[in-house]
């Protein structure tokens, strides 16, 4: 500790997160310069914001008296579409991500297969669901099918990546033991590898269900079906009470899904 210049009084100081003082100052200074530029480049129309506060307040008030009834037909239709999309896309996504996950594990797959599967994963991870949804709507037409395929693709990016990483981390001893019995490739996967990654795969799949539901509420904005379209319309009409009702329903379903998947995961461990 640098206390050489003040003999007599030695004061303890907390050790900083970043050890090198020069790096610490450089990062701090860089952050300050960046922030001043970034904040400077935002143009805020304060008058517009001020005018909007009334509407914001109206929205907050709407949460105290959400209107489930007036647009119930639209809401229930969108909700059913969202839920069916969630179920089908999760199932389809899991079915597709298992082979891709196996292919993306370096200890199982030959290099060309590995590169191809990693490529699929990288593409599905970089582009937001919405961008993919725009393309799928253009290709498959409006409606939940486009949303379903979007969410399936997004599920692959998530699940296959984590599955592949999990397979790469397995205990090779067990897999080798199964292989030594003369098992075929499929038997090797089924008895040597699958039992080791199954608990985590189930946990991740459950987690993906609620991600898919949350995302299914958004893809509707670009026409891929689901509750998002209803919500978008509600905002466009400034029907905040209906919007509040939809948001409350989404939060409730997400909470329910999170709670029940937590229970199942706790039982699996």
């Amino acid at each position: 500790m640098s206390v050489a210049h003040s003999p007599g009084i030695r004061r303890w100081k907390r050790p900083p997160l970043i050890k090198s003082a020069r790096l610490r100052w450089a990062i701090g200074l860089g952050a300050a310069i960046y922030l001043s530029f970034a904040i400077g480049s935002i143009e805020v129309n304060w008058l517009r914001v001020y005018e909007g506060l009334d509407r914001g307040w109206a929205f907050v008030i709407a949460f105290t008296e959400p209107d489930f009834v007036k647009r119930w037909r639209d809401i229930s239709h969108g909700l059913i579409e969202s839920l069916t999309m969630t179920v089908t896309s999760t199932v389809l996504g899991i079915l597709l991500s298992i082979p891709i996950g196996l292919g993306a594990a370096r200890n199982l797959a030959p290099l060309p297969v590995y590169l191809f599967c990693r490529g699929v994963i990288a593409i599905s991870r970089t582009f937001q669901e919405i961008i993919i949804a725009i393309f799928f709507v253009a290709m498959f037409g409006f409606g939940p099918l486009a949303g379903l395929l979007t969410l399936s693709l997004a599920t692959i990016g998530f699940l296959a990546k984590l599955l592949a990483e999990d397979i790469e981390d397995i205990d090779p001893g067990q897999a080798e033991a199964v292989r030594a019995t003369g098992a075929r490739w499929l038997q090797w996967i089924n008895y040597g590898i699958q039992p080791q990654v199954m608990p985590r795969l189930i946990g991740l799949s459950l987690y993906r269900i609620d991600i898919n539901f949350r995302e299914s509420a958004v893809v509707g904005i670009v026409g891929a079906g689901g509750i998002g379209a209803t919500l978008n319309t509600a905002f466009d009409r400034y029907e905040f009470d209906t919007a509040a009702a939809i948001i409350i329903i989404i939060i409730a379903i997400v909470m329910f899904a999170e709670y029940s998947s937590g229970l199942i995961r706790a039982r699996l461990k």
Binding site: R14, L17, Y34, L35, A38, I39, S41, I42, E43, N45, R48, V49, G52, L53, R55, G56, F59, I80, E81, L83, T84, M85, V87, T88, V91, T126, F127, Q128, I130, I131, I134, F135, A138, M139, F140, G141, G143, P144, L145, L148, R214, E215, A217, V218, I221, V222, G225, G228, L231, N232, F235, D236, Y238, A243, I247, I250, I251, V254, M255, E258
Partner: protein, 271 residues
Amino acid sequence: MPVGGQGIARTWQRRARSRQFAIWFGWLAGTALFVYCWQLISETTIWAFFWDSPRVAADIFSRMMPPRWTYIEVIWQPLWDTINIATLGTALAIVLAVPVAFLAARNTTPSATFVRPIALLIIVSSRSINSLIWALLLVSIIGPGIFAGVIAIGLRSIGFIAKLLYEAIEEIDDSQVEAVTATGASRSQIIGYGIVPQILPAFAGISVFRWDINIRESTVLGLVGAGGIGLQLQASLNILAWPQVTLILIAIFATVIVSEWVSAKVRHAII
């Protein structure tokens, strides 16, 4: 051990019969649900479009190539805005999420019966609503622009950061807190010297991780009018300028890859 067959021909079975039935029934119910949902979707789908899609995809692809490289002049500014939305949104979220996390963690909350549920409700509401929906809402309240995007990203990230942070706070080593308490430290000193040093690496990791996610999310906020490169994407799609769309997608891809690299580097350095 569950055993099947009779007399000498007894064979080992993995599960008892009732359990086997329960599992079989579970699969049946799951499959039925899937088929039913599939049917609902299939009813609203025009399958002719689906079978036509390879041709459409090929058509779109041929229109997209080659990318219009000169368009890059136009998208520097929106790209800069996109990064600003992500960064300032993350900064806003950090400022708001830290107190929420301390109120939500079981070992630091002032009242487990009153304050904690409210903090948890804030976390779950912020997490369940996608940033695009927040943006939709904010654009209709405060008008289109980057400002709405920053706030939307911020509101969505509060839940994420606060959740991971409060879990980190709950997992700290209590003996260090106890040691600081034993010196007669005040409440704020306990937090500052006993808790904060323990969660600081996790906190930095979480923030950078969220920043990385936010870069990805802020690329699409423009679709609902909340600024950034999404605006350009929307405009190009509307006028069917596919070569521009390609360039924008390449730009997004590059930005996301760089941000992921930065985030991985920083997290690696911290942990």
